[in-house]
Amino acid sequence: MIADQALDERALAKERALLDWLAARGSVLVGFSGGVDSTYLAACAVEALGPDRVLGVIGRSASLSRVQWTSAREAADHIGLPVLELDTEELADPRYESNPGNRCYFCKTELWTRLVPVARARGLAAVVDGTNASDGTDYRPGAAAAREHGVESPLADAGLTKDEIRSLSRARKLPTWSQPSAPCLASRIPYGTAVTPERLRSVEQAEQAVRALGISGDLRVRHHGSVARVELAPDELSQWLDATALARLTAAVRTAGFRRVALDARGFRSGSLNVLAGIGAPAETGTGT
């Protein structure tokens, strides 16, 4: 199973502990986004328990991009994970829609309120998410909602860091091992600006248009009203700081309805809107799963 000789023995020991933990549970429901963490967790769960005792659940809403949804389905197919898709309605919650600094708490409350009863109805012993040990220092109000609903975080409990999860994912040949983090689309909208389906759609369309230019690394289009602020990975930034290239980027983003387009000179930063708002550590909450 693990063929990468370069893998740190400590990481492998943590993985063994994770597999033991999952086996001891007997059955689990995995909150599944198809991201690096939840895909690795689900793959381990399928190995430890077999596919008949694991269920991955994808929460669908306007804040989940089509690209993320497709990626999640493909990751599930790759690891043989049975999947259930549930529509979530966090946008109908005015506490979420108003986009406070703890917006993720309301999103995760909606998610787990729907997922935990599924686990109970199907006799699954535990509900787990992909929170890892590297998330501990970040500003993550969604974690409180998970705790309140009895959701467990075995990756974090095993002490597995993001880097270790990527290495272990690579050893397992998971397609997600090098995947950029992909938090929900609402993370592109500054706190205090309402999260609406229209704004989420604009962000999604703009990011798709930028991807179509060949940008493959970390990317965020931040919604600042009429201005779209584009963050690119540092290694891709310099080549777009050119009038002709920036004109192409600008034209692409404008197709999503933004009047003005500005390229961030600092480049991609996870949780940059937290930084702009002066909230917590510079981190971004993922799709939660």
Binding site: L241, A243, T244, L246, T250, R260, A262, L263, A265, R266
Partner: protein, 73 residues
């Protein structure tokens, strides 16, 4: 936050363009974004933006910029 102060600071770095504030974001409107392609200079510009109260600095082409026929810096 001071867009005028930042503009002066950027001019001292030989960076030309018009600085406009958009909330906590400073936007340098210039037909020559390549001015910021050099990482050390970019860091200096970001530092200046921070000193003048902005959380970040972004670059925007003038609205009439075609990418080829824009005023020089």
């Amino acid at each position: 936050m001071s867009a005028a102060g930042l503009q002066s600071a950027l001019e001292a770095l030989q960076l030309r363009g018009d600085v406009v504030a958009h909330g906590p974001v400073a936007i340098l409107v210039t037909g020559h974004p390549e001015q910021l392609a050099e990482p050390a200079l970019r860091e200096a510009a970001l530092h200046a933006a921070s000193v003048h109260g902005f959380r970040t600095l972004a670059v925007e082409l003038p609205s009439d910029a075609s990418g080829a026929h824009v005023p020089g810096p």
